[in-house]
């Protein structure tokens, strides 16, 4: 995949320092430090329950750290006014639920919240931002449709449009492809790549499909038990040893015939004669 990155309009540094996140007494992310590369696509992978979603939620200040900090341009996101952070850093949570009867334009428009004040309500700039977000996600023609009448893929594009209308330079997405079929997964990941290349948006995605992660990521962060096991370019990081350590399964790593990125072929107890 040839690099044709545009320098981001404004570069923002997002990093975690000695971050400890817990639900109750149980630490889910334990003393984790990581820096997200600017203007790149970072994919966080790991087994179920390894803390990858929690890390993302912590970075988007949905979970308050027990210790450590999440820094955006050197300032703790938990100590910065919420709207100020929301103008730079956006998060699309896992499986959000839209209110009954809401139209696409209405939902996407609500992403403009951090740009509005108590008395300064809707402006032409908001209209334009919503129009751009709809166009970017190919949902312009759905503008007056209701969310509940749409397919899963269309819905996910509308939610991404809402996050885009927020116009942040850093966008975090928690499993945006999980409930989608293959074609829609590719569609969403292509859309995120467009966004990254044309606008320089820093993107962090949590996802399960290791092969798509390798294809679309500039940077992979692999997590085990709330800590970073390895990170770097997919080609440098994703090896059978790493897959064994992170997912606890033997595998063969081959090249993706289209992108040349690593493709993990897992070894099971059946149908795997060639691997022996």
């Amino acid at each position: 995949m040839s690099a044709e990155h545009v320098e981001p309009a404004a570069s923002h540094r997002l990093e975690a320092q000695g971050l400890v996140l817990a639900y109750g007494d149980r630490p889910v992310v334990d003393d984790l430090s990581v820096a997200i590369p600017d203007g790149r696509i970072t994919v966080v992978v790991g087994a179920n329950g390894c803390g990858k979603s929690t890390l993302l939620r912590g970075m988007a200040r949905l979970v308050t750290p027990v210790r450590g900090a999440v820094l955006l341009d050197g300032k703790s996101v938990h100590r910065t006014p919420s709207k100020e952070v929301a103008r730079v850093l956006g998060l699309l949570p896992q499986a959000p639920v839209a209110p009954e009867g809401i139209t696409v334009t209405d939902l996407v428009g609500r992403g403009r919240y951090p740009h509005q004040g108590w008395f300064r309500h809707w402006t032409a700039a908001d209209d334009e931002a919503v129009a751009r977000a709809l166009e970017a996600t190919g949902t312009t023609e759905l503008a007056d449709r209701r969310i509940e009448d749409m397919s899963g893929g269309q819905r996910q594009r509308v939610w991404i449009a809402m996050a885009l209308a927020q116009e942040t330079d850093v966008l975090l997405l928690d499993e945006p492809t999980t409930y989608l079929d293959l074609a829609h997964q590719i569609e969403v990941l292509d859309l995120l790549t467009d966004l990254n290349r044309q606008r320089g948006t820093t993107i962090v995605v949590v996802m399960h499909d290791l092969n798509l992660a390798c294809r679309y990521a500039d940077h992979v962060i692999a997590m085990t038990d709330g800590a970073v096991t390895a990170q770097g370019a997919p080609r440098a990081v994703v090896t059978p040893e790493l897959v064994q350590r992170v997912f606890g399964i033997a595998s063969v790593v081959v090249d993706d015939p289209l992108s040349g990125t690593p493709t993990v072929v897992p070894v099971g107890r059946h149908h795997c004669a060639a691997s022996a």
Binding site: V130, A131, E135
Partner: protein
């Protein structure tokens, strides 16, 4: 798949795309405005009917003359002294219940989560009855006790239902329990009361505009003057809260603080209305959904819901006073209309398997 328009071409893309966004938004705004105008006209007509009907019926011309200050002594007394306070109290009580109900329903994303179902209104009743029967209070003190009762009920529900977040379903279940508890308190106090005291306290059980007076109206109007603008200002916050805690926090809302503030406003509105006319059942419950059906929107439709609430109370009161050979308190009429809707909702949500 459409590609993203880069910043340089953004203006062109925006020029092509904007009209459609504007058109959709304008369409929604026009419809809401039309609905509001229609509701105001309907409310004016209903109020006119309420002012002219009665033991001393007034033709329209005489009614208008009286309202513009050219009435006779008799018509002045009947319209301005007796009927107008009753109608205005009805309008304000209905608007408060409508606003409070639609706020709760949007916030908790559950049509059952209205103050008359989850025990906020009955909390106010319990406070009021306790003040009258046990403490011998009257006037503003009773209203204060009603407010205290409503806040106590809300705090109780919030404390029990809260589990590191708020689920609308849990809130409603706990609320129904608290509602039963508050009704039990009222009933217990009534059984121990003297007959004539119990008669005075009865309004706190069903809701009635019989006690409406100019003095009470002034208190209610003042409270509305403060609370309604605050709630309308919070409307945009409500739009974001409606998307769920995670999305709301992502777009920069301080979720817990915002939710507590909005709930507090809605509780006080319900309490103020209950203090003025008792727990007029189902008004808060039906106003929001009816307004939403009319506007076709998905937001809280605050102003239309307030107007629907006002209309429901005024029309129900006219029906209760004049439709049957005997008079009924307004709360009985609203309950007769609202209860079937509650059943319908329960049956529908059961069929859909959503459980509310």
């Amino acid at each position: 798949m459409t590609t993203f328009a880069p910043a340089a071409r953004g203006t062109l893309a925006a020029r092509v795309g904007t009209p459609s966004v504007r058109r959709v938004r304008r369409h929604a705004r026009t419809r809401t405005a039309t609905v509001c105008v229609g509701l105001v006209v309907a409310l004016a007509v209903a109020s006119g009917v309420a002012l002219s009907l009665g033991d001393y019926p007034l033709p329209l011309a005489e009614l208008l003359a009286t309202l513009t200050g050219q009435g006779t002594t008799a018509s002045n007394f009947i319209v301005l002294g007796l009927r107008l306070p009753r109608v205005l109290t009805g309008i304000l009580v209905g608007a408060c219940f409508g606003l409070s109900g639609t706020t709760f329903q949007c916030l908790l994303r559950n049509p059952l989560a209205s103050p008359d179902i989850i025990g906020i209104s009955y909390g106010a009743s319990a406070g009021g009855v306790l003040a009258i029967l046990l403490l011998g209070w009257s006037g503003l003190l009773v209203s204060g006790a009603a407010l205290g009762g409503a806040l106590l009920a809300a705090t109780l529900i919030y404390a029990v239902a809260y589990r590191g977040g708020l689920s609308g379903y849990r809130f409603v279940l706990v609320g129904v329990g608290v509602s039963a508890l508050m009704v039990a308190v009222v009933n217990y106090l009534m059984t121990r009361a003297e007959v004539f005291e119990a008669q005075a306290a009865l309004v706190w059980l069903t809701g009635s505009l019989n006690g409406a007076s100019a003095g009470q109206l002034r208190t209610l109007a003042l409270a509305c003057l403060v609370l309604v603008p605050l709630l309308l200002l919070a409307g945009r916050t409500l739009l974001v809260l409606q998307l769920g805690d995670d999305v709301a926090a992502s777009v920069g809302l301080r979720v817990e603080a915002a939710r507590l503030a909005v709930i507090a406003l809605a509780v006080v509105l319900a309490a103020v209305a209950t203090a003025a006319a008792g727990p007029v059942g189902f008004v808060a419950f039906v106003a929001g959904p009816v307004a939403k059906r009319l506007t076709g929107g998905s937001g809280p439709s605050l102003v239309p819901a307030a107007l629907v609430g006002a209309l429901v109370v005024v029309v129900s009161d006219v029906a209760g006073q004049h439709l049957l050979p005997f008079q009924l308190p307004v709360g009985v009429v609203t309950a007769a209309v609202g209860a079937p809707y509650l059943l319908y909702l329960l049956i529908r949500s059961n069929r859909a398997g959503v459980g509310g």
